[in-house]
Symmetry: C2
Subunit: 418 residues, 2 copies
C-alpha cells in the first residue's frame, strides 16, 4: 500500500466532505448521530465479533491485562457509546451562532459567526469507544474527521466505522465526513500530521510519549495536554476539614486521571498541625507518601522525595508532599513544576484566594474545590474531546466550542470606507 | 556574537518578565504606555539622528524609493506613534475579565478568566513605527514582547527601544518586558521561531515570502495572513448604485492594503447591464481590467485574464473580472481562489445574502459593504496587531483579545467530586 497516496486521498475526501457538513443543518447532523446510535445497537453481534478478533490478537501478541481491558467492547461499553451519541445529539449546536453584533460609527454592523474548523485529525490509542466519542463531537460541530486508532483495535474500529457510515448515509451526509484510517502502518500518522492542506487541527489522545512525538513532528496545529501534574495547596488560613476532604478526594477519587492531584503543598505555618492529619488520611487509602525534608521532620515515616518527584505524574496511589513558605512558596513551586493543568488552593482568606487564581498560570485554577472537577462534563461543556494545557486557541477542557472558530460578518447598506 | 546564546538569553529574560507583566495592574501598564509616549516626544532629536543613519545606509545600499519612504521617521510619524500609545492606554484592559461564571449541578461555580499569552515574538520589515505599535498592544495585554525589525531600520528601532525602556522603568516594570533584538543577523529569526520554551506565539508582519518562510520553519504557533485576495460579488439582485459604489471603493480607496478587492465577480444574469458601468467607473480611476472570456465579450477592451490572475494579489491599480453563474458560481470561485481574507456580496436578496455569509469560508464575510472595512479599527477592536486568515485561535483582525487566552476558574466551598 502506498501510504502517502492513501492518506492524500483520505485527506482530499475529508476536505470535500467538510464543505458539505459545514453547510448541513443542525437537524441533519443530529440525525446522523442518532442513526449511528441505532446502527451500533443493531450491530452488537458484528461489534462483538470484530472485537473478539482484536482481543485474540492482543492476547497472542502479549498485550498486558490493562491494555486488553481497555480494548474490550463489553455490552456496557456499547451502551455507553450509544448513550454518548444521543447526549451529543441533544447538545446545543454551536455552529452559526452570531454574537457581539453591533453598529460601528461608520454605520456598518459587525458581529462574529461561529463556524467549524474544517477537518480534524484524531490520533488515539487502544480504547475503541474513543472512535465514537471523538467522531460524534466533530460531527456535531460541523467538522469532517479522520480517525487513527490504535493498531490493536483495528477490527473494532472498522466495525464502528461502518455504523458511522450508516448514520451519515441515513442523514444524507457524505460517507467521508468521518473516516477511520484502514491501515495500521505507522507511516499513516506521519502523513496525517503533515498535511496542512487537508487537516486543520490534530487532537492526540494517549500517553505523554505519543503526544510529544506528534507535537514535535506536526505541521498542523495540535490541541493537547502532555500530562497532569496537579497540585492542592493547603494554606495556613485553610479550613482543616475542607482541606482534608478536598485533598483526599483530589488524590483518591480516581488515581489514573490527568486531573488527579500528584503533589500536595502545605503552608509551613500549619504543617505541624495538619500534615499528620493529612498523612493519616492518605495512609487509610494506602497512598504512598514521598515528602520533602520539612514534611519528613513532621511525619517521619514518609519516603524521601527527590527533585524528580515534583515533576512526576504518578497516575497511581503515590503522592509527593512538600512544605512551602506560604502562598509565595506555593505559587513559585506550582509555576515551576506544574504541567499547567489544574491547581487548587484551600483557604478562607479572600486576598490569598484572589492572588492564587490570578498568579497561578494553569488551565484550571480552583479555590476550595477538588482538582478532579477539571472535566468537560463537570464544567458544563456537555462532553470533551480532551484537555488543553496550551494557551493558543483552547485552554482547559475542550468541548464543542473548541472545535470551532469565529469569522466576522459585516452587514452594510452600500457602505464604503471614507 | 553567539546568536543562539544571545537569543536564549533574550528568551529567558522575556519569560521572566512575562510573569511580572502578567501580574501588573492596569494602571501600571497604562503608565508604561504613557511614559513611553512622553519619552518618544522628548527624544525627537535622537530619533531623527538614528533614523538618518538608517536612511543614509539604506540609500547607500540601494534601497528603492518605496522602501526608503517606509523607513523614514517623519515628525508626523513620530506624532502618530505617540498618539497610538495614548490610544492604546485608553483601551479597556482585557486581562482578568471573568465571564460565563455559573453554578454547576455539583455546586461548584465555574467561569473563564482572560489572561495574557506570555511571550510574543513580532517579526516585521522596514517600518520602524511598527516597533511601537506592536509593543504597545502586547504590553497592554500583559505580554512580554521580543521584536525583530528589518535590519535596515536597526538604528531607528534601537532608539525607539530606549524610549520603551524608559517607559517600562517609569512604571516599575522590568526593562526586559519589551526587547528589540540587537543583531541584524538573520540567524536570530531562526532562533526566535524555534524556542517554544521561551516564546508562546509569533506574529510576522510583512510580505508573503517572509511569512511563508516563518510558517514553514516555526516550532511555535504563528498568527498570520499570507495575502489578501478579496472578492466583491455583484449578484443579479444587487442594487446597481450600491454595487458601483462598493466595488469602486473596495478597489480604489487604497491599492496597497490586504483588504483591497483584487477580483470582481459579476452574476451572468446582469453582466450585460452592469459590467459596462463598472468598467467605465474603473477606467475613470485608471484601473487596468483583466477579464474572463465572458467579461471581454461584454467589455472588449479588457486584457485577457489567465488562471494566475484569479490567485493574484495585485496591490495596485489592476483588477481581475469574472462573470460567474449566479451565487453558486460565485461561492465556488471564492472558496477556490480566495485567500480566505475578506469577501463581500452585493445583493438585495435575503436568501442569497444569508447563503453567502454562511457558505463563504473567509475570515470576514460581508453584505453590501466594502472589503476595505476589514480592519481592527473599523471593527471596534481599537487597534490590530495583524489579520489572521487561519482558523485556530484568532481569525480576522486581531486586537488585544487575540493576544490573550482564557483559563478556567473554579470556586468551591470544600466541594469534592462524587
Amino acid at each position: 500500500m502506498d501510504i502517502a497516496a492513501y492518506m492524500a486521498e483520505v485527506g482530499q475526501q475529508a476536505r470535500e466532505a467538510a464543505t458539505a457538513i459545514a453547510r448541513s443543518s443542525t437537524a441533519t447532523r443530529n440525525r446522523a448521530l442518532l442513526a449511528t446510535a441505532d446502527a451500533l445497537d443493531a450491530a452488537r453481534d458484528a461489534l462483538a465479533e470484530a472485537n473478539s478478533k482484536d482481543l485474540e490478537n492482543g492476547r497472542a501478541n502479549g498485550l498486558d491485562t490493562a491494555m486488553v481491558d481497555r480494548l474490550e467492547l463489553t455490552p456496557a461499553r456499547i451502551d455507553g457509546m450509544i448513550e454518548g451519541l444521543r447526549q451529543v445529539a441533544g447538545l446545543p449546536d454551536p455552529i452559526g451562532a452570531i454574537t457581539d453584533m453591533a453598529y460601528r460609527p461608520s454605520g456598518i454592523q459587525v458581529g462574529k459567526m461561529r463556524v467549524p474548523l474544517g477537518v480534524i485529525g484524531i490520533i488515539y490509542e487502544s480504547r475503541p469507544n474513543v472512535t465514537v466519542e471523538a467522531a460524534s463531537l466533530c460531527l456535531k460541530s460541523g467538522n469532517a474527521t479522520i480517525l487513527r486508532g490504535g493498531s490493536e483495535a483495528i477490527h473494532s474500529n472498522q466495525a464502528i466505522a461502518e455504523c458511522l457510515v450508516t448514520g451519515l448515509r441515513d442523514a444524507g451526509l457524505p460517507d467521508t465526513a468521518v473516516q477511520v484510517i484502514r491501515t495500521t502502518d505507522r507511516a499513516a500518522v506521519g502523513e496525517l500530521i503533515t498535511m496542512p492542506q487537508f487537516v486543520d487541527v490534530i487532537v492526540p489522545r494517549g500517553g505523554k510519549g505519543l503526544i510529544e512525538r506528534i507535537s514535535r513532528d506536526a505541521r498542523v496545529p495540535v490541541i493537547k495536554h502532555l500530562d497532569g501534574v496537579c497540585h492542592v495547596y493547603v494554606d495556613s488560613h485553610a479550613d482543616p476539614e475542607k482541606a482534608l476532604k478536598v485533598a483526599v478526594n483530589a488524590k483518591t477519587q480516581r488515581y489514573g486521571t490527568c486531573n488527579t492531584m500528584e503533589t500536595l503543598l502545605v503552608d509551613r505555618e500549619i504543617a505541624d498541625d495538619i500534615l499528620p492529619l493529612l498523612a493519616g488520611a492518605f495512609r487509610e487509602h494506602s497512598v504512598e507518601l514521598r515528602g520533602c525534608d520539612g514534611s519528613r521532620a513532621i511525619v517521619p515515616d514518609m519516603l524521601a522525595a527527590t527533585e524528580d518527584d515534583w515533576f512526576e505524574e504518578y497516575l497511581g496511589p503515590v503522592l509527593a508532599v512538600r512544605v512551602v513558605d506560604g502562598l509565595d512558596g506555593a505559587i513559585e513551586h506550582i509555576n515551576r513544576y506544574s504541567s499547567q493543568h489544574t491547581d487548587s488552593i484551600i483557604t478562607e482568606n479572600y486576598t490569598r484566594a484572589r492572588r492564587f487564581i490570578t498568579e497561578v498560570d494553569s488551565s484550571s485554577v480552583m479555590v476550595n474545590a477538588s482538582t478532579r472537577f477539571a472535566d468537560g462534563f463537570e464544567y458544563g461543556l456537555g462532553a470533551e474531546i480532551g484537555i488543553s494545557t496550551d494557551k493558543i486557541h483552547a485552554r482547559g477542557p475542550v468541548g464543542l466550542e473548541g472545535l470551532t472558530s469565529q469569522k466576522y460578518v459585516v452587514f452594510g447598506d452600500g457602505h464604503i470606507r471614507a
